[in-house]
């Protein structure tokens, strides 16, 4: 079977000692930042992008991917132990997980989270391996019109699935798209919004922008509400699940994995949405639903499986179509571009070692994470005692060095500082920065495809409606938009996000 030879190729790449090492580093880092509140995978990956420049592409992407799904594991640890979710996707886990800890079943909760995540990660990896080649094959038939419509769908869906005001998210996307036009226009060679600054001829530096908007801005916000973190954790013992508990988690893990895998593929979806949805679904379906909120083990199993499945399946659109579905994927696209790889359906055929290596590394990464998270849990607990006032100067230092190191240019550091102000202003006005990053990354691709489509159709916008694929994508986008605007769904969104 073709898939076997592909997986073998992937294994031969992923199990190279260097890639195993970097995968391990990624998972370790991911768990660490997942545990630490105030530092998330987006900011960390943005900070580490400059370092990946010097690494071979497979190692770089394996490490970055490890950070992402590793953070899903780490976030649940603090959620369960001290009711402080380290990651947005672990918020739901804290509800029942912390209660379980208070009832003395912290070990069981942690074990459920880790094992559920491992199962979900394995399934998601298989899904990735199975779905990717046919998807890429379909996408190779995409013309510029189809690509344009797909990107529009992606942007609309990410708005729809984002929390907060729709109009504001749309404004952020458009703002990001415009920012993407800064630089030299590829078609005509004309400089746009460059103001004769030589560093801007290549456009705004993606890494500097993301570090400013996500990393530094986050620090600015955190400095407003500084709390002394009180860490009163009892020793965690007993990682084994009882037979009864084991039976109870089987269903939730399966359902969570399925739901998470589905939601992760959708643009704008991903780990957080998956975990919320899985919790809500499980609450409705479970025979033990009265216990939810008081320490039901299903309330840990479902969201934890879902968030891992969602995190990994969100790689599918990025790896096969080149379309990032969430900010982390946008950063991965950025990383690939830094390495000189153009993301898109040709990645699977041009760089098969990279593609399949990444897929296999996700599975080995999940294995490493289970080991990291269960036996080594004491280590993470101790890490929680690092005070934020020691952490954030280190982060700022690394951000500065990182921003400088991309082009050996101080201007990038200034740009990062500038964008931290922009990001801060936006957050004070309650605009979410994530859609901005998505728009920024997609901006030039969107424009290029629009241009080409218009060229082919000689200025006729009907081209987007004439192609069946493009038409259905646009209709789907409209449906998504309508669904979100409809009052009943918007009420459900409100509920989901206020919980």
């Amino acid at each position: 079977m073709d898939i076997f030879s592909n997986l073998l190729l992937g294994a031969s790449t992923a199990f190279l000692p260097m890639n195993l090492f970097y995968g391990f580093v990624g998972c370790l880092l991911g768990t660490a930042i997942g545990v630490l509140p105030g530092l998330g995978p987006t900011a960390t990956i943005a900070m580490l992008l400059p370092i990946t420049f010097g690494l071979p592409p497979e190692s770089a992407l394996i490490m970055l991917a490890g950070i992402f799904y590793g953070a899903q594991y780490g976030g649940s640890t603090t959620a369960i132990l001290i009711n402080l979710p380290g990651e947005s996707s672990s918020v739901v886990t804290a509800i029942d997980g912390y209660q379980m800890a208070r009832n003395g079943r912290a070990g069981a909760a942690l074990a459920t989270a880790a094992l559920g995540s491992f199962f979900a990660g394995t399934v998601a990896t298989i899904l990735l391996a199975l779905a990717a080649p046919p998807l890429a094959a379909v996408a190779l038939n995409f013309g510029p019109a189809e690509y344009f419509s797909l990107m529009v769908l992606g942007l609309v869906a990410s708005v729809a699935l984002a929390s907060g005001s729709l109009l504001k998210a749309m404004a952020m996307i458009v703002f990001g798209l415009i920012l993407g036009t800064v630089g030299t226009d590829v078609e005509s060679g004309t400089p746009r919004y460059v103001f004769d600054i030589p560093e801007l001829y290549d456009g705004l530096n993606f890494v500097a922008v993301s570090m400013g908007i996500f990393g530094l801005c986050e620090i600015l916000r955190n400095l407003e509400h500084e709390r002394k973190r009180s860490v009163g954790i009892k020793k965690v013992s007993g990682l084994m699940l009882t037979k009864d508990e084991f039976k109870r988690v089987r269903g939730p893990v399966l359902r969570g994995t399925a739901l998470g895998s589905f939601l992760g593929v959708l643009p704008g979806g991903g780990a957080m949405l998956a975990s919320f949805a899985a919790y809500a679904m499980e609450k409705r379906l479970s025979p033990n639903r009265a216990q939810f909120g008081k320490g039901a083990i299903e309330g840990v199993a479902a969201p934890e499986s879902a968030n891992n499945a969602g995190a990994q399946t969100s790689f599918i659109p990025m790896l096969t179509l080149g379309i990032p579905g969430n900010p982390v994927m946008a950063l991965m696209v950025g990383a690939m571009i830094l390495q000189g790889i153009t993301p898109g359906p040709n990645v699977i055929s041009d760089e098969p070692a990279l593609f399949w290596g990444m897929i296999v590394s996700m599975w080995s990464g999940n294995l490493m994470l289970v080991i990291l998270n269960l036996p080594l849990i004491g280590l993470w607990v101790r890490m929680l005692t690092v005070p934020y006032h020691l952490l954030f100067p280190a982060i700022i230092g690394f951000c500065c060095i990182g921003a400088y190191s991309i082009n050996n240019s101080v201007f990038d550091v200034f740009m990062m500082a500038g964008f931290s102000v922009v990001g801060f202003a936006l957050s004070k006005l309650r605009f979410e920065p994530a859609p901005l990053l998505l728009g920024f990354v997609l901006g030039s691709m969107l424009e290029e495809n629009l241009r080409r489509a218009m060229l082919i159709s000689q200025g006729d916008p009907m081209i987007f409606l004439r192609s069946p694929l493009s038409l259905s994508l646009l209709i789907f986008a409209l449906i998504v938009l309508a669904l979100v605007l409809s009052p009943s769904i918007s009420r459900k969104r409100e509920e989901a996000f206020t919980e």
Binding site: I51, G54, S165, L167, K168, M170, A171, V174, F175, L177, I178, T181, D185, E187, S188, T190, R192, Y193, L216, I219, L220, L223, E224, H225, E226, K228, Y388, H389, L390, F392, P393, A394, I396, G397, F398, C399, C400, I401, A403, Y404, S405, N408, V410, F411, V413, M416, A417, S420, V421, F424, K428, L429, R430, F431, E447, L450, R451, M454, L455, G459
Partner: protein, 158 residues
Amino acid sequence: MLKIRNGRDFVGGLTMICVALLFIWFGRDLEVGNSFQMGPGYFPTMLSLVLIAIGVLIIVQSITVHAEEGEPEAWNWRGYFLVIVGPVFFGLALSGLGLAPTIFLLVVGVAAASKHANWRHSILLALFLSVCSVFLFTRLLSLPISAFGPWLPFFGDL
């Protein structure tokens, strides 16, 4: 008299409109072209117009829809100043002072942004980080920055 129900969103919408106008203004020399042959100015101008429309809608919404009760805003002006000026200082001082002193000063300066900081911790942290970053970035990753720069007469040749 129009009562603004959601002040923050009103300002937000206004900001978006201003941003869009800025882009249109600074892009006024770019050739727009037509939809067949899109010039460099087509996409940005079109997007700016869309942004203006969205901004107007946000303002309309701010007039009609009540703001939700939120937490009161906390402001940490000292924090903002230090964290924003920090990287600027870094950029200015790096080539002159070199990596180690710049990181040291950056960390000490920025750490003061926190309520919980104390001098001993900050200085120790700064020392630790400057040693680590020199080691990590110049030795291991071969970044072309010197550990100590030309402004420091004695160390400059290290």
